[in-house]
Symmetry: C2
Subunit: 240 residues, 2 copies
């Protein structure tokens, strides 16, 4: 799948994400008109992500946020009850989006090699679309509340588990070689994370998300596929 096709398919606009959020949290948000609320939640979150990803969440003052979002200090507190609450809100939304997109794209695929490729691609594409969220989420994880920290770890384990399962299925089917599945999954995650943690680096070198996806898949396959299979795969074109 191309990145453009993916974008068309998931179409994760901030609007959608925050509309969902608003509906699930009507009670906590003082503003009662949905359209007004969603519009401002988008402004607030994108301002918060932009400032935080520049200087870190703890150093972002609410005056900064007020200025960049265009809302007054007082108005901000109609949308969250404390600065920490805002942090947790943003975190929550990201995790919901990941689980949703992953399930949607992987559930139909049975064949391990195709599933592995798709999982790598989907993760990279998703982190590309939601780069500020992913980066924020990684860098600010230690500041979360206890409860949200627990959720964050759960989400981390969830995605790693997906890769472990795919690898083990492939080993059972005798498609992949017999390497340690847990460690291999950890390595894959490290490579996926590098994309959103060092986006500036890849951008400055002109590497697109599709190229990076290609690279990671090749890299992983050279490790997981037996030597002779690999040669044959390459003849067939390894990307479906």
């Amino acid at each position: 799948m191309t990145f453009d096709a993916f974008q068309g398919l998931v179409n994760i606009s901030s609007e959608d994400i925050w509309r969902d959020f608003y509906r699930n949290n009507r009670d906590k948000i003082k503003v009662k008109k949905e359209d007004v609320a969603v519009k401002n939640l988008v402004k607030i979150s994108s301002a918060a992500l932009s400032i935080s990803n520049r200087k870190g969440f703890p150093l972002m003052t609410l005056r900064d946020l007020s200025e960049e979002s265009g809302l007054s200090m007082g108005a901000l507190y109609s949308y969250f009850s404390s600065k920490d609450d805002l942090l947790n809100m943003i975190q929550q939304q990201r995790m919901a989006a990941i689980v949703k997109v992953f399930s949607a794209h992987l559930s139909g695929i049975g064949e391990p090699l195709e599933k592995l490729r798709t999982a790598i691609q989907i993760h990279l594409y998703l982190s590309e679309v939601m780069q500020p969220w992913f980066y924020f989420s990684y860098m600010e994880a230690k500041n979360l509340s206890k409860e949200d920290r627990r959720k964050a770890i759960e989400a981390e384990v969830f995605t790693e588990r997906i890769f472990i399962d795919i690898i083990e299925q492939g080993q059972k089917d005798r498609i992949f070689v017999d390497v340690d599945s847990m460690t291999t999954a950890a390595i894959i995650k490290a490579l996926l994370q590098d994309w959103y943690l060092k986006r500036w680096k890849y951008e400055s070198r002109g590497v697109s998300v599709e190229e990076y996806s290609r690279i990671v898949i090749d890299f992983v396959e050279s490790y997981l596929l037996p030597q002779d299979n690999l040669k044959q795969e390459e003849k067939n074109g390894s990307n479906g």
Copy 2:
């Protein structure tokens, strides 16, 4: 080389690091007795790393630092002139150590494959010995002063350059296959970073630094070595 052997060789104690630092910065530090100064610099830095790696440098108050280091607020300011100054001090020390150790261990090696293995190992071992430094340095990079930020990027490029050069030498010698050297180096760095960024994960799974080193080397070699070479290498035992 085993991890123990490495430790014996470099023997990077906090003492040594801060004694070096003290001698290079006598003018900036108000305390004039070397032994007193070094002893307290060690206390301050290890307290600062411990607190920061728990909750982040911006959220560490000087009262926290005072409590954990056992020095009073006033005394702390005999060792640095501002909180930012402390940040830059710690950063500086880490980079000096890296350059020193890398040069010492790699300069003698000409053969690309051995050099690649050694570079991976040394980086992992070093980040293991200085884990709090490495983690801190990565997570707090955005808070550095302009000048120290520039230095940090330089250091980043320095280590990546080492890997690029090794790969290109190996390609010239027809030992490695013809993949993109820059991207491959980026991938290697991502895997090396995962070790100190997610140490808790590997620890909880009982993966030692030697095992991880073995895994990364295998992974990279399966990508860089031609198929037939690989088979032969494995027979010889790929770790020297």
